[in-house]
């Protein structure tokens, strides 16, 4: 993990759209009067969602003004947490888990697929600038290893071919079906479950 620097290409202005504004006000209202600054992390996340998965400096300034706190404090928070992206990552942000369980199950093949399809290096935009990929730490879906996350969806039980197909679809602007790619429901055992058969919704 290295120091993540803000992108050199920064938009000049940032403002919450009506949807984000509603979400932001909703979060701020949860904090007592005078403690609104506590909402800074949630607001940064809202800004990230609104702005194609990354936070420009203009958004930090906007949030600082929004919460009446010094800009440097917002900047500190945004640079501290690795899940805030400070440079453009594309509309489709692909995160591949490479922590031990996924690695053992062949996460490196997924990385190879990304290198072939999207870009040579991680955190680098694809040719059409619509997506980028990144190796991340455990995403908590070890039962379905190896897996990757694209924006909010998990794609599980992958191998290189399946990954290539998903990426193909993404690059073509389609939305592939999330979930397991070995035909099981969530993380149930393959070929139906063997225990707790009495329960319908176990």
């Amino acid at each position: 993990m290295s120091l993540r620097r803000p992108s050199k290409n920064q938009p000049e202005k940032f403002e919450f759209n009506s949807q984000s504004l509603e979400a932001a006000n909703n979060i701020i209202s949860k904090y007592p009067e005078g403690k609104q600054q506590s909402a800074v992390m949630a607001l940064l996340y809202i800004a990230q969602r609104q702005n194609n998965n990354w936070i420009p400096l203009a958004a930090m300034k906007y949030i600082a003004k929004f919460l009446k706190m010094p800009y440097i404090k917002v900047y500190e928070v945004a640079t501290f947490y690795t899940m805030y992206n400070l440079s453009p990552v594309g509309k489709h942000f692909i995160q591949i888990c490479t922590t031990t369980p996924c690695m053992i199950r062949g996460a490196n093949k997924l990385v190879e697929a990304c290198k072939e399809k999207i870009s040579k290096n991680e955190c680098e935009l694809s040719n059409d600038e619509s997506c980028s990929w990144m190796e991340v730490e455990c995403l908590g879906a070890c039962v379905n290893a190896p897996m990757m996350q694209i924006n909010d969806e998990y794609y599980e039980d992958l191998d290189k071919d399946k990954t290539l197909k998903i990426l193909e679809k993404i690059l073509n602007g389609e939305t592939p079906k999330p979930g397991s790619y070995r035909g099981r429901l969530n993380n149930e055992p393959e070929n139906n479950r063997k225990t707790l058969l009495d329960f319908k919704n176990a």
Binding site: L3, R4, P70, I72, F80
Partner: protein, 678 residues
């Protein structure tokens, strides 16, 4: 009170103190980097680890509140090992460049690694490199040396009130940075140099100038503003290399303003080092005997009513006293004046021109009303105190004028003198606040006394506060904010002429001989007057002079200064006057001797005792004065109060001669360069 044991020594501490403070009370030194008494507790350097009974891990003593019955050990093997470990981590990324580091010799990390560290490193990897930051003309950064104590960040946010510094990134990649890439917008910014325990933030003007052990250190008083900050002047031979703060809880705590710290290079430039005489509009070097001869003949051939003297803003009290004595006894005329503007001052009582509730009083006050002053630029340290009061007590602050960013929020009124009259005639919402306030503070700046109806309003303020019983034995609500170091001292000595308006007479060219003692701020067109200028720097005063007598600056002579609260403090001689220049009191004494064959004072001791005797007599006489407020005969007119503040970085001759101050001015105020300055 809590009782606890530190290394089997029993100590009692107040509730709310930390283990570290308890250890200090027991006389045990705890190494630390991030902890600082005047800043909030961060607890991130881990150097202050101690062993606590029943705790399996060592505790950070700076962040742990002391509790009843604690048993702290600081001298066990366990603690020693913990400290060694912490030190090893701190040094993992710290470069070993002490020989070329300006902090060397006064570096906390250097000292503490000698005591608590190990002598070799197990860190075989590459060290981290951090790019340097641009923090303006005063602070040099070498961020690779930073150990992330965050003292500078906390200072900027808490004391200076400019949240511009921050720590970005995390872990090994953490960096202290300012997003601005320019100097901090604060007049206290250079204090981070003192706070930095390593050489990450060092002083830019002092870079590679000297090692601390080569310097002669003199504890003295600052003259850049009327606060009288306690400073240490470090000299290398004649040169003043730097000025550092020393702790005085009643005045400057631990801070000094940037002007105090960095105007000292002005002591090296533009100095007057020999007497000069002007022939045909050109200055020529002369000897003391020559100039004394001319002065004598001039004084003897001029009627005494045609002689006047103006004394400046940086002189010490001895100089002021000997100047007065010279006029009173040798010339026998009372034409002397210390003010350089037509402001109203009532010197009959001391409380009319000093900061009565004292600087410490700011902490106790519950309402601060600023009338015609901008403490941020007129008294930077005092402004930091007001900010502290605002942070700790949420003190209500109101200003009559819009004064810009004062680093704390305040309510500003319209700046009309009518509003002021309303307030002190109980016709304004603020009147009630003042009446209800237990310890109100009215801080009155010099701009107020330039109002035409200032006499009327000042008397009104006094009357209103008296009527509402705000004058208590321990609390005097009226505070005058003087701007110049010598202002209160000169008023005490009585270097003021309220009978005649010397300034307007000067502008009407009524005088033939004008004696300027360090007075460079007079605005007048010279005609046929004969001007004697005595001072340390070649500035406005010397330019128009016919005779120049080279005097000494504040670091070159012993002398007393009275600060704005009326505290008398002695400044000590750190260096000596350049060339043939002499101490100021000596020059006047010698002129007197030349004229009358008799010295005014035989030596400095006699001068001092005579001066203190005079001040004591004056104070005794003051007690007999009956106060009355009758302002029916005074006129009132509605006018706008203008905040007339000297340019901060050029407020006196020393600052005007300083290159660092020019750089500061250019960088801080976004001054547009014209290519003709400097």
């Amino acid at each position: 009170m809590l009782k606890l044991k530190v290394n089997d020594i029993e100590v009692e501490v107040e509730e709310g103190l930390t283990v570290l403070q308890a250890c200090e009370k027991a006389g045990i030194e705890i190494p630390r980097f991030c902890y600082h008494e005047k800043l909030s507790i961060a607890g991130n350097c881990r150097m202050c680890l101690v062993e606590m009974e029943k705790s399996p891990k060592p505790i950070a003593s700076c962040a742990m509140p002391a509790a009843e019955g604690m048993n702290i050990k600081t001298n066990t093997e366990f603690v020693e090992k913990a400290r060694k470990g912490v030190m090893e981590f701190l040094l993992a990324n710290h470069p070993l460049d002490c020989p070329v580091c300006d902090q060397g010799g006064e570096c906390d990390l250097q000292d503490q690694s000698m005591y608590y560290g190990v002598d070799k490193s197990r860190f075989k990897e590459n060290k981290r490199m951090v790019p340097e930051k641009n923090m303006g003309p005063l602070i040099k950064t070498q961020m690779t040396r930073c150990i992330h104590c965050t003292r500078c960040v906390r200072f900027a946010t808490e004391v200076a009130g400019v949240p511009e510094l921050g720590a970005i990134g995390r872990g090994e990649d953490m960096q202290i940075t300012t997003y601005l890439e320019q100097s901090m917008q604060s007049e206290l910014s250079a204090n981070v140099v003192d706070l930095c325990p390593v050489g990450a933030l060092t002083s830019k003007p002092y870079v590679f100038e000297a090692r601390p052990w080569e310097l002669k250190k003199t504890e003295t008083i600052d003259v850049m503003d009327a606060i009288g900050s306690n400073v240490r002047v470090d000299t290398y031979d004649w040169e003043v290399k730097r000025v550092l703060p020393i702790i005085n809880e009643d005045i400057n705590e631990e801070w000094i303003s940037d002007k105090t710290r960095y105007a000292c290079d002005g002591l090296l430039h533009q100095r007057l080092d020999t007497p000069f005489i002007k022939y045909n509009k050109k200055f020529e070097k002369a000897s003391w005997a020559e100039v004394f001869k001319i002065i004598k003949s001039k004084f003897e051939n001029t009627s005494k009513e045609k002689i006047c003297g103006f004394i400046g803003d940086l002189n010490n009290m001895e100089t002021g006293y000997v100047f007065k004595e010279f006029f009173d006894r040798t010339l026998n005329i009372k034409n002397y004046e210390t003010r350089s503007d037509n402001r109203y001052v009532d010197v009959s009582q001391r409380k009319n021109y000093i900061f009565n509730s004292s600087i410490n009083g700011i902490d106790e006050s519950d309402l601060i009303f600023l009338v015609g002053c901008n403490p941020r630029y007129e008294a930077t340290i005092l402004n930091a105190r007001i900010r502290k009061a605002y942070l700790n007590n949420n003190t209500k602050i109101v200003s009559l004028n819009e004064a810009g960013d004062l680093t704390y929020p305040y309510k500003n009124l319209d700046g009309q003198s009518q509003t002021l009259k309303d307030i002190f005639e109980n016709n304004h919402e603020l009147s009630k606040d003042i009446i209800n306030s237990k310890k109100p503070m009215i801080i009155i700046g010099e701009s107020f006394f330039r109002l035409n109806s200032s006499k009327f309003l000042f008397s009104k303020i006094n009357e209103f506060l008296k009527k509402n019983n705000k004058f208590l034995d321990e609390w005097k609500p009226i505070n005058i904010l003087s701007c110049d170091a010598s202002a209160v001292g000169n008023f005490d000595i009585g270097l003021i002429n309220n009978e005649k308006n010397l300034l307007s007479e000067l502008k009407e060219h009524k005088f033939e001989i004008i004696y300027l003692l360090g007075q460079d701020n007079l605005n007048f067109n010279k005609e046929n007057e004969f001007i004697i200028y005595q001072g340390s720097h070649g500035d406005n005063g010397a330019e128009i002079a016919d005779i120049i007598l080279p005097g000494s600056a504040y670091t070159e002579q012993d002398g007393y200064f009275t600060n704005l609260e009326g505290k008398v403090q002695k400044a000590y001689k750190a260096s000596y006057p350049p060339g043939e220049a002499k101490e100021d009191w000596q020059i006047i004494n010698e002129i007197a001797e030349y004229m009358n064959n008799r010295k005014l004072f035989n030596d400095k001791d006699e001068l001092e005792s005579s001066m203190f005797n005079y001040l004591k007599l004056k104070q005794d006489k003051e007690k007999e004065i009956q106060e009355f407020y009758d302002h029916n005969f005074l006129e009132f007119q509605n006018e706008k109060l203008f905040l007339d503040i000297k340019p901060y970085f050029f407020s006196n001759v020393i600052a005007r001669s300083s290159k660092t101050m020019i750089e500061c001015n250019n960088s801080k105020l976004n001054f547009k360069s014209t290519g003709t300055e400097g």
